[in-house]
Amino acid sequence: MSDSHIILEKVVYLRGQRCIFDEVSIEIPRGKIVAVMGPSGAGKTTLLKLIGGQIQPESGSVRVDGLEIPRLSRKQLFDVRKTMGMMFQSGALFSDLSVFENVAFPLRIHTNLPDDMIRDLVLLKLQSVGLRGARRLFPSELSGGMSRRVALARAIALDPEIIMYDEPFTGLDPIAMGVIVDLIKTLNSAYGTTSIIVSHDIPETAGIADIIYIISGGKVIGSGSPKELFEQDSPRVHQFIKGLPDGPVPFHYPADDYEEELMRVPDAERLF
């Protein structure tokens, strides 16, 4: 079997008139942590949806384990998805189920295991995210960091080969952030799962990723190990990594000339 677990080749994706991806090619090796970074609105989450087959590319190919995702039937697609776990930014826990039942959900659906075995498995997964004690709570009673950890436990319930993390670090306090970073690292090294992190938090991501792709303006503008990227002198990559407000990626939304607009007679453009 090839070394690459997931391959995107010249993927073009449009949303309305706007081009989100313009011939993007990304290779994700088996068992590695790969981060996809870029400014908000660069289509990072879209990328995960393409891999999961929730949306179809305009052209190009998306292959997971050699399977061409956009060509699969609904049934085949659902089978492939059983080998993927995804942690959503919001957690996306089922609000009518307890923490325990949320983690048990994929097991109950996809396996015929007896109840006591499901119980053991769920406790095992909850233990690994440190929330075994919270199993009777409901999603509305959890903090942001806790729901994300439950979501992670649910994502790994079926021991997937691929785990996708959608903005795992956004909006967490430093402790919760540290917990999640550790979990991602441990899951990857303990189970050898291929991990894809979509994020714009540079220090956390660079700390655990093996390979980073930077996407901006619909193109991959830089890729390599964190170290390589920090040393690169491409101005766009430099701006993103260093977090500079202005540079090749403009600070301002496209607009008319500033001075000219200020000097213009106001009632010509009907303020009311």
């Binding site: 999961g52 929730q54 609904r74 659902f78 089978d79 998805r81 059983k82 993927m84 995804m86 959503f88 930014q89 919001s90 996306a92 826990l93 089922f94 609000s95 959900f105 994929p106 659906i109 996809h110 979501a151 649910r154």
Partner: protein
Amino acid sequence: MLSRLRRIGQYSLVALATLGRAGHIWWQAIWRRPRLRNLPLLIRQIYQLGVLSVLIIAMSGFSIGAVLALQGYNQLVKYGSESALGLGVALVLVMEIGPVVSGLLFAGRAGSAVTAEIGLMKATEQLSSMEMMGVDPLQRIVAPRLWAGFIVMPILALMFSIIGIWGASLVGVDWLGVYEGAFWSAMQEGVDFRSHVLKGIIKSVVFGIVVTWIAVFQGYDTIPTSEGIAAATTRTVVYSAVAVLVLDFFLTLVMFNF
């Protein structure tokens, strides 16, 4: 002129596309054989849509039956034919008011709840995460609700009619003094199961399917923001109400041989 024509074309294209999506969702959810393991989901929806609607159906049915008896008595007593009160009330309830009003109430009570619930599930990525777990939300979320509406609606409509008739008998017989024997025997004589009751049931089945279909689709197709969900919930109630009333006309036209 040309631009107006173009706009009409645009609207019809959008409407057709929406109808196509709605039909697709309905078909995808309904055509597969329901699985036994999904039975608890169905029972839960029957509870949510049906059992929780019983109170509003009972109260409205009782009130409408009582009002029909009051007004009907007033008119009939002029011709000394108040003994036909039971027959009149029963026919009106079973054929028209039962199915139609319970359909409208069902849209307001259960339809809006279904839309809001599914819309919120979409907004909080629950549908998306279900899909990513290899579970088809059309099977797990949409199908049980559609089946529940189909099962529950005729029962609610019948309940509405029965309670309405009971309310009418309380007002007509016990209060206004219509002769009890005439009240019930005229009803027994005049109301036929196949030509009256069954047609009412068929109407309510159709309303049940249409209302839950609209509710489920509006929730599933909503723009996942707070405004989007609010608008979708409103649309569910408005479209359902219009659909029930318009369909009632055509069903009456077809079934009662005009």
